[in-house]
């Protein structure tokens, strides 16, 4: 359990840094594009247009980063158990039932995440045989790696949570 937790913390830190880097890139690249276009249209600077042509990969990259960032954010959110949910039962159920409820929910989430990992690996296999390209010659499947990777992260988080709850439920029943 201790090892799992320290892996969890290390992964969280890495995810945090990636989020900062990706979001920073998204803002910077989009801003630069608007800035260059404004220079060309309103300042009539030829080189701004040329430079814009040079970074035509920026837009698809930024769109891809939105998806990657979203998965990293969702993974962090899973670690904190703060996903969007209908939360009426917390007040209605007796307090001692709550760990059992969490355990049941974790198991359900583990199943969904595991099935999604499998589904996205199937999708990537299919895409690899097509051999399509995204931009700058990057193969499309490389951009899609975030799907199995992201769902694996979610799976890992739900698994840790399920384990913690199991311990909790078992301890609760022992006198």
């Amino acid at each position: 359990m201790k090892i799992l937790r320290s892996i969890d913390n290390a992964v969280s830190r890495l995810e945090g840094w990636l989020i900062v880097a990706f979001l920073g890139t998204m803002v910077t690249l989009t801003f630069v594009q608007v800035f260059l276009r404004a220079l060309y249209i309103h300042g009539h600077l030829r080189w701004a247009n040329t430079l814009m042509g040079q970074i035509d990969w920026a837009e698809p990259l930024v769109r891809l980063l939105v998806l990657w960032t979203a998965f990293l954010g969702a993974s962090l959110l899973t670690g904190e158990n703060k996903h969007i949910k209908i939360d009426i039962m917390s007040d209605l159920l007796p307090r001692r039932w709550l760990p059992l409820r969490e355990l049941i929910l974790s198991v359900a989430c583990i199943c969904v995440a595991a099935l999604m990992v499998k589904a996205s690996i199937g999708y990537i296999r299919m895409e690899m045989t097509f051999g399509a390209r995204l931009f700058l010659g990057i193969p499309t499947w490389l951009g899609q790696v975030i799907l199995p990777a992201g769902f694996s992260l979610l799976l890992f988080r739900f698994f840790i949570r399920g384990l913690e709850q199991t311990i909790h439920v078992l301890r609760g029943k022992m006198p």
């Binding site: 989009t30 801003f31 891809l64 589904a119 199937g122």
Partner: protein, 423 residues
């Protein structure tokens, strides 16, 4: 077998299963029974990387989170106090207007009650507004301003329905103003009835407050200006907003540190975005199944037997959406319900832009509706009052909001007048 699994998914979702997991499970079951490969969900999720509009969501959310920290809320309240404080019930008006404004600039991500409540609620009570009035006002304020740009729910609605965000932003201006306006009139009436003290208008205080808020006040207007002069698209405007807000908060006011606060806020805001987008991905997968299985058609068939007029349809829609709004958060509600309702609304001749405005108004009201409206719980924990007291105190406000809902729903020109000028 399938029915049992579906029942299990519904039960688990009511028990508190993350919405995205519930929708994904439902989509898997649906696709499986239709003998479609489950990787269809993965395909739908990856389609998110091909949608240019989507970038507006992380960017506006980040800008909103930056604004919700530091002194922005104080400067806004001080400004509106210097402007409206002198009229009867003035502080109530101040609270309503600043909450709506704050909700708008933070993109309606649900931070308003938390950011402004601690400032405005004690002020209201100390100026001898009744506690229940103040509580009700602060609670309902949390969902005012949903209609103003750059509200995140509007962007999501635009994405799911295919209506242009530019059009939706401008359509929301009048309906949003009517909602705020009617509650302001209520506050003025109560202020007169209670004969509350009124501080005189001070021009020098007004100028000071204006100077303090001069950087943040123009944000929604700059956003509208940039979009409608064609300077930048909605998405690009989001990036410009981030750069502007970053400059104001980090370089001009020096309220947020570059090494500590900014990365933390980046992470916090992207968690929120991740939570929304994973529901969006799941909902896309689910919609894929719904369309394949002709579910909207079937609902339409069923409805046609029940109602045959636009008015009847809108009435059912209003009821249904308030019910949804008090169970679900606004983001999942839009993502799950809009694809179902869109074809029906078209059949009954409801304009998709108008439908979006009705949606937001309804779901915003659902937030304040007992027993499970989200605002009630946020306010209950923020102000440390029992939930039953909040049910009672929001009731008059709820009644007024329902009145505006009727106006918004049954008087389409209110929403459609401004967009029609655009063409």
């Amino acid at each position: 077998m399938t029915a049992a699994v579906v029942l299990l998914i519904i039960l688990l979702t009511l028990l508190g299963l993350p919405i995205f997991a519930g929708i994904m499970a439902a989509a898997m079951v649906g696709l499986h029974t239709n003998q479609v490969d489950v990787s269809a969900i993965a395909i739908e999720i990856f389609r998110l990387a091909n949608a240019p509009v989507l970038l507006a969501i992380p960017l506006f959310t980040f800008a909103g989170y930056l604004l919700s920290e530091g002194g922005t809320s104080k400067r806004l309240v001080r400004f509106s106090r210097s402007l409206f404080g002198w009229i009867p019930g003035g502080l109530g008006v101040v609270a309503l207007v600043s909450c709506a404004f704050f909700t708008a600039i933070t993109g309606a991500t649900g931070v308003t009650i938390i950011a402004l409540g601690g400032l405005l609620f004690p002020a209201l009570v100390s100026e001898r507004y009744s506690e229940n009035f103040s509580l009700g006002l602060m609670t309902t304020s949390g969902s005012l301003g949903l209609h103003f740009p750059p509200s995140l729910p509007i962007i999501l609605y635009g994405f799911v329905s295919g209506v242009s965000i530019e059009k939706l932003f401008i359509a929301g201006v009048f309906p949003g103003a009517v909602m705020v306006g009617i509650l302001c009139i209520f506050s003025v009436c109560m202020g007169k009835k209670w004969k509350l003290e009124r501080p005189p208008f001070s021009f020098s205080e007004f100028m000071h407050a204006l100077k303090g808020a001069a950087w943040e006040l123009p944000i929604p207007f700059l956003i509208i200006l940039a979009i409608y002069t064609g300077f930048s698209t909605a998405t690009e405007t989001a990036a410009l907003t981030v750069v502007y807000v970053f400059t104001v908060k980090v370089l001009i006011f020096r309220e947020l540190t570059l090494s500590g606060d900014v990365p933390r806020i980046m992470k916090e805001s992207m968690k929120m975005v991740g939570g929304i987008l994973i529901v969006l991905g799941a909902a896309l997968g689910f919609t894929n199944y719904l369309v394949d299985a002709f579910i909207p058609m079937k609902i339409l068939h069923f409805l046609e037997g029940l109602v045959n007029s636009k008015i009847g349809f809108l009435l059912i829609l209003n009821f249904f959406l308030i019910l949804v709004g008090c169970m679900m958060d606004i983001f999942s509600a839009i993502l799950v319900v809009v694809p179902l309702i869109m074809p029906l609304a078209q059949k009954f001749g409801v304009d998709p832009t108008h439908l979006g405005i009705i949606f937001l108004a309804n779901l915003g009201i659902g937030y304040n509706t007992p027993p499970v409206g989200l605002n009630l719980f946020i306010a209950s924990s923020r102000f440390d009052r029992p939930i039953m007291q909040l049910y009672r105190s929001t009731l008059p406000f709820l009644a007024l909001l329902l009145l505006t809902l009727l106006i918004i729903t049954y008087w389409p020109p209110l929403s459609l007048f401004l967009p029609s000028l655009l063409k």
